[in-house]
Symmetry: C2
Subunit: 367 residues, 2 copies
């Protein structure tokens, strides 16, 4: 494909100029709403632009007021049901305000996030909602530069170090602590945690684990901190063998949890922090011929419709996905509307949806 | 929010002009790459634009060549795992060619699809991949107008009547026929179909059903035709009571399938055509205390990771989601690159992934 090939796309300024019988600069002045153009010429250009289907209104509005009625949404992974739920909330709230939402997915890759921000700025959106893939020590100048240039940005699902801007999250640490505590109250002391932060040098003690957490994606770090909080409250020593550090995909989760189940002292309960980790853990149980509840308890993050039709139905931490999305969109729209108040951190409540995948330690697993 | 409120967004042409010490028209000529500008002035403007972070390159490239290196993707529902898989395939293929993909989701609503096309044309994408929400008799001028204006468009997942353009689909009718036939070979004669086309006046006979199919979304129609083909092959009379016509959400599927399970002559097998229909059917079985395979067989469209960890694991029709997406992106990129050959219809193979949710009619259900 040759980069200078001119495809027969939307009408160009030249075509509008030819149709109106004026020069290109006149068309640019008219449609861009600047410089001096006589009323008669302006009418001629607008008629030609309309006849050819030139996107005159949007462009003119955009160039004269800076408002394009479009929000840019950057999500880490639209294939994750959590983000599809969030997206629905954003889109609905945007639509109600007469805005469109255009979406880019970054597959949890920071370089794709940088690219996405560049694209959205070029496409002249009015503001951004971002679920950033940035770890605590990553360079986030792509975000801070956009913010410095006056682009309103609202963070969703994840805080980003060094960015003191609006955000919409749940209390991941507390949600995680409560779920793990409920397992401990059921007698579990060997509780697997999938997923821990991705690292090639897993922690060998609690101190190293805290250093890893300092570098992790905010939500990952918070969820593991909640797990550690629950252990500490109950006086249960931290065992590095029960935390995964693998790449975040289902296959790796299956392998890592499978490895734990093969330990001499295997976990009697599993806590999973994302949908794919939950599916990976379920596959590992299946492979090891272990049944949920009867052999191993399980609680996961992010309820999905299928979790309710599993046998037994899965106990899950439910995030208010639509409400998270709607809150982010509304906060962003307020900023676009001129709200210059202090940055707001919206912390929405999550729910531990008790079903039947967690219970007492089975007698055959007691020691 | 006042529409003429000017927020402090990306630098404007005026700001670049002020910083460069030239007039706005000069900046427009320089960045738009038209008219006459001296080399010294051009350099001054470009330096100022760069200093201010003006998106000069993209805009200049777009205005001079018409190519923005962006694909517009319009999907019926990004929350549907099928479309998230497709999206991944599109994004990967686009990225490999140096293109970005921006996405709009239409929630299966035609008016939102019209809006999405308008937005993407205004944002000057180079081409469109569209999974259209249009039924057979709907007005699709939003698509035909874009095509007439030279915008390359590739249809994915669904053909649209009256648009003779590139498309990427599976053979829905044959996939459906093969799945239902395999159930018939297992002895089933009462096979429920969820979802049939949405209509307020369900068919009372086969002829009426065919009229409904003529109006339906293409893929919906094809899947039901495959079901009817399999029945006809086996000489099984069509029973309207076994086809749902409800709104397409999980709750409606649960209710409709539940109603069938309560019939005097209930289905012994269920064929579901989408993920939400599958979950709805599973819920209905749960409510009626019926177990998959032991009481009722089930085959569904669109494999998901969780289907493999169900007990028993679900037999599913697997579409090559990533490959569908990648093929659509590649076809679109070829058109953007100047390929003017005849429209191509890519029909990719699907797979009936045999697991353990379908089997013989249980003896207690035989009559």
């Amino acid at each position: 494909m040759s980069p200078d090939h001119q495809h027969a796309g939307a009408p160009t300024i030249s075509e509008v100029a030819a149709a109106a019988g004026v020069g290109r600069a006149t068309v640019a002045r008219t449609l861009g709403n600047y410089g001096s153009v006589s009323d008669a010429t302006r009418a001629k250009v607008l008629r030609a632009a309309e006849r050819l289907g030139y996107q005159a209104n949007t462009l003119a509005r955009s160039m004269s007021t800076g408002i394009t009625k479009t929000l840019g949404i950057v999500l880490a992974d639209v294939a994750n049901p959590f983000f599809s739920g969030v997206l629905r909330g954003i889109s609905e709230a945007a639509r109600q305000a007469g805005y469109d939402a255009i979406i880019l997915s970054t597959d949890e890759k920071l370089e794709l996030e940088r690219d996405a921000i560049r694209v959205l700025l070029a496409k002249q959106v009015d503001g951004l909602v971002v679920a950033s893939a940035a770890g605590r020590s990553d360079d986030v100048s792509h975000l801070s530069n956009a913010i410095e240039r006056g682009m309103p940005v609202v963070l969703i699902d994840r805080l980003v170090d060094g960015l003191d801007i609006d955000s919409v999250v749940i209390d991941n640490r507390e949600a995680s602590r409560a779920a793990v505590s409920s397992m401990i109250q059921n007698g579990h002391r060997r509780i697997a945690f999938a997923w821990g932060p991705v690292t090639l040098s897993p922690a060998t003690d609690l101190q190293q684990m805290h250093s890893i957490l300092d570098e992790a994606l905010w939500s990952d770090g918070e969820r593991l901190r909640g797990y550690l909080d629950a252990l500490e409250e109950a006086g249960i020593p931290f065992d590095t063998a029960l935390v995964t550090h693998v790449l975040k995909n289902e296959r790796q989760a299956t392998r890592a949890v499978g490895g734990m189940l093969a330990l001499a002292d295997p976990p009697t309960a599993i806590f999973t922090t994302e949908t794919e980790a939950t599916v990976g853990a379920l596959r590992a149980l299946q492979t090891h011929n272990l049944r949920i509840l009867k052999d191993v308890s399980l609680i996961g993050f992010d309820d999905s419709p299928w979790a309710a039709v599993m046998e037994p139905p899965l106990t899950m931490i439910q995030q208010p996905m639509r409400e998270l999305g709607a809150t982010a969109a509304q906060q962003l729209l307020a900023r676009i509307g001129g709200d210059t108040s202090e940055p707001k951190k919206h912390v929405l409540p999550s729910t531990l949806l008790a079903r039947s995948s967690d219970g007492p330690v089975p007698s055959h697993a007691r020691r």
